[in-house]
Symmetry: C2
Subunit: 288 residues, 2 copies
């Protein structure tokens, strides 16, 4: 499989669907719609939608069956980035080399652009067949017990050392929860069996955790240029990370173990799971 | 009808349902759950849930049929208050005599408490029978084209004069949209007919607009003590209001006209609409 070509094609599919779904900048209030589009079209990799489409394929459906849900996932993810970047949160001026939403539009509009993207994610969920199930799952994933809860502990971790168990909760909540929902949504749109949904859930959890551990490792070992954001920031601020708590070697072992667990979960999908397996490899077999 | 008794009973029903539904402060992350509860239990009148229950009754159901949806509406409403009060938005330190969420917990936690309450609103919508329909309607109502959009124009109105048409959009978006959804949700939970839903929609729109015009009038004519917030603030900051654009007399006439329109829409409900009509009177026949 030519993964680069696959990723490019999928990204274009997702970009076109986002373009069609986001309110036009000509529509009132223009500032808000510009702010929403600024962050949605700021060079994201579209990882969550692409995983969603690949999971639908793994379960025997056409990727288009899960495209709307992919758009919902990207809206939800982007809202969390906008709010996380605010001065009262992580205070980041740049993301993927672009100025963050509040730097361009001000803090108030950035809060509201995030709020509106969250609403749009649920609007799309609600429109699907059996939309209540999607709305419920996305809400639980993004609510106080997962995504938002993880961000709170992450904020608290800036001023006090988290335990390994707390850090694991942060990573599960902030990254693994939405990755898991991404592949589950693809499976659900494809009418997956319980066994298939369980396998996707296992993959999402392990891959999400692995991804975050690897991010922590790369943050310590790489330079600003390569990452496009301020590297070493987490270490400078004595923020709790896997390397800080476990050491670099043990963190690498943990990342490796989780990666194997994630990829093993996909074995049941056979040939139709090829793209999803390739994505798993692409995500996790980074140079750490 | 003893409206005071009715309101007290309904409020207690709603409070108990909110108490049962909001995550416990013992659950991690405790700070976040404390912040969510701080704002949810800060003395709100529970107007939207009570309207929702009364609309369900008007359409022949028991109020309990719409109680979960009432909780969802209050979560959604409370999230918008938390975000509107932030320093980067309206910058309010007090609401209903209580310190606002960000004053107690800091701006970051306040943003996240609002985000989590929005998610909880959609979680509850998703759980209902035919939950996708509720999620979709609440998302449209609260999204960039209505609630959040209205707040953006409201923010912009602080620095430039809005036209009457723009101000009407702000009021329709910020207040009337969610009031309309509140009564519609009650009707939908009760299995209302199309005609009944149309009447509830008309009532919500007219009552919401009337309520906002009256608020603008009272802001000009009343004192701080009576309102429990800084009166005259809107005039001081040359913010666009109905009295500022239309004059006080014409604003009063407009409020009266809208009130009559709202109450007329409820005539079709006969005896079962008594509570909803009484609520309409209570809301709109204030001393302005």
């Amino acid at each position: 499989m030519e993964l680069e070509v696959y990723l490019k094609e999928r990204r274009e599919l997702v970009e076109a669907a986002l373009e069609a779904r986001l309110p036009s900048v000509d529509e009132r209030p223009q500032t808000l719609h510009r702010a929403m589009r600024h962050s949605i079209f700021a060079g994201g990799k579209r990882l969550r939608p692409i995983l969603c489409l690949a999971a639908a394929e793994a379960c025997g459906a056409q990727p288009e069956a899960a495209l709307d849900l992919g758009v919902a996932l990207e809206c939800l993810h982007t809202y969390t980035l906008i709010h996380d970047d605010l001065p009262c949160m992580d205070d980041d001026d740049f993301r993927r080399g672009h100025p963050t939403c509040h730097k361009v539009f001000g803090d108030g509009i950035a809060v509201l652009a995030g709020d509106a993207l969250q609403a749009l994610a649920f609007e799309i969920c609600g429109e699907q067949n059996g939309g209540g199930v999607y709305a419920k799952e996305l809400a639980v994933t993004s609510g106080s017990r997962h995504l938002v809860g993880g961000q709170v502990l992450d904020l608290e971790g800036e001023s006090k050392r988290l335990t390994l168990e707390e850090l694991r909760f942060v990573h599960l909540s902030k990254t693994a929860a939405l990755l898991t929902t991404s592949v589950r949504f693809g499976g659900m749109a494809a009418g997956a069996s319980e066994v298939q949904l369980e396998a996707l859930t296992k993959f999402g959890q392990a891959a999400g955790l692995a991804f975050q551990v690897i991010d922590d490792i790369l943050d310590v070992t790489q330079t600003s240029e390569k990452l496009g954001k301020s590297a070493g920031k987490d270490v400078d601020s004595e923020k709790s990370t896997y390397p800080a708590l476990l050491g670099l070697d043990a963190s690498r072992q943990e990342a490796h173990r989780l990666t194997q667990e994630a990829l093993a979960a996909l074995e049941i999908f056979g040939a139709s799971g090829a793209a999803l397996r390739a994505l798993g490899n692409y995500l996790l077999e980074r140079d750490y």
